[in-house]
Amino acid sequence: MKNWIKILCAALLIYTAVFSLWHPMAPGGLSVSATEFHPGRNEFEFVGYGTHFKEAEASLKVYVSVDSSAVYCADILQVVDNHRAIVSVFLPDTISSKRFGFAANNDIDGTIIVDSPVGQEGFSFVPGIKNAECRYAVNHEEFSGFAFPYQPIIIESIRNLMWHVPMWFTMFVLMTISFVFSIRALGKEEGRVDLDHDTRASSAAAVGLVFCVLGLITGSLWARFTWGDWWTNDPQLNGAMVVFLVYVAYFILRSSSPDEEKRARLSAIFNIFAFVLMVVLLMVMPRFTEGLHPGKSGNPAFSKYDLDSSLRSVFYPACAGFILLGYWIYRLNYRIQKLEQHNENQY
């Protein structure tokens, strides 16, 4: 089996493409139509995402919690479709807080929550509080299907996790290959450089740079969707941009020096510098600064993501697939470079 790497890589990538895009989303609470609540009857529309209100109309219940101390049951006036239900809730005039939480429950979706759409943030529905008017009782607490978890704001774009993050992992692997070959190119013997190792280093760095660009593009799309801008002031983003510039500078340096031996030595030296810089920029500095990326300020990168089993089942194969792809293209690129050198030397 000479081509097992290629077959494995293609299989993993097809798996990633299919499952990252076709896997269903778990239901979640999207929004509530009202922005103001007052004592007495309040009518509003509860909007869910990927929910089954119509199908599970019989078991649908909607709760409104106020300041986490009281829970009120809402009367369901009309279930419009699977995602929307018009409800009405009676609030007594003793309510002083503006912190509302909203939750819906049915047999299919379990409990879904809209986090504090009115008033201050940082409030979520606390189940299990027994109230005289409303008894909180659910049959299915959790959504029973196998699906990507619903995250507020991120919603469907969580699928980008399988594309954006592996790009950076692949870039890291390729730049590490490049770094190792640069060291070996220098360390051959006194005063000599190993041209073959230098070719390997530059081929790996070239492919790594492509993955860096892909990571920036997928990240930019994601940033537009979740943070509202194509580019935001986040240490990881700025660091990635500088890493991109450093490796572009590496190739400019390579092209500026006509002599093979000298080019190999200089670019190997600069590459070692560039790799250390990349580690500092992408792995050390973001830990010291606040940013928008998950898991900053000292945490490892994924702790906040609740990388649950459904995400893992696609994310890990995606990483492996893209790293293999990067390695594969690097090998191809290296052989092209070698052939070009061979051709040049013949004339």
């Binding site: 890493v243 500026s256 600069f270």
Partner: protein
């Protein structure tokens, strides 16, 4: 220079720490002498600082915040550093460099150049601070932590000096011209620059000492990393 006595390789190999210090001091003296002989270049750099600050003054008249003060200071600082760095290798002919190569280990050469440039840039930045104080005054700087500010200025300048000396060496060897120093240098100093701008603005705004201390730690680490990398890699660059 004549009395260092390192023409003999065996003497060099036996050289004790004291001798190494002598080599370093001799090389530093050489740098200083070169600078002194090219007084017009020194005057040119200072004029450059003055002109930059003056252009800032003409544009801004008065600064709105301590943040602008700090950012402008480092924009000036970075370009000054690049300017001062142009001649560090180019001012010596190929013959001189070959001569130096026979006299001292390349590590001493990079060490001497880096130390000299670090001190030189620190002094230039102090001059630029003086110009800033002259033109913009201290009206936006109500709660400055001067000690933190000066420590940051020092560490930032030495970091720029260390990193840029090495990059200038690469650019010089590649014969890529003056532009290459900027192309290679800007990304390399970016982490340092991000940290130093953050540190300076927070010191000028009088932020807490712990936050500033953390930034100073990062600066120190970046200094050490640049130093170690240039120290280890320069001999590979130098030999041909």
């Amino acid at each position: 220079m004549q009395s260092t006595g390192y023409e003999n390789g065996a003497v060099y190999k036996l050289g004790c720490i004291f001798d190494r210090m002598n080599t370093l001091l001799a090389l530093l003296r050489k740098e200083l002498l070169l600078e002194w002989r090219q007084k017009h270049a020194l005057a040119g750099v200072i004029l450059y600082v003055l002109a930059t600050v003056f252009v800032c003054y003409l544009g801004f008249q008065r600064l709105e915040s301590a943040k602008t003060w700090g950012v402008l200071l480092w924009v000036t600082g970075v370009f000054t550093a690049f300017n001062a760095m142009q001649k560090t290798f180019a001012s010596e002919s190929a013959g001189t460099q070959l001569f130096l190569y026979t006299l001292a280990h390349p590590r001493f050469i990079i060490l001497a150049k880096a130390i000299y440039n670090a001190v030189f840039i620190a002094l230039l930045n102090l001059v630029s601070v003086l110009f800033f104080l002259l033109f913009f005054g201290t009206e936006v700087l109500q709660s400055v932590d001067w000690l933190q500010f000066l420590l940051g200025l020092l560490l930032g300048s030495t970091g720029l000096g260390l990193a840029l000396t090495f990059v200038a060496g690469i650019a010089f060897k590649s014969e890529g011209g003056v532009g290459l120093v900027a192309i290679l240098g800007f990304p390399v100093i970016m982490p340092l620059l991000i940290t130093i701008v953050r540190h300076t603005t927070s010191a000028l705004e009088g932020a807490s000492a712990t936050q500033n201390g953390l930034n100073l730690m990062v600066l120190l680490v970046l200094n050490v990393v640049s130093f170690v990398l240039s120290y280890v890699l320069f001999p590979y660059l130098w030999r041909e």
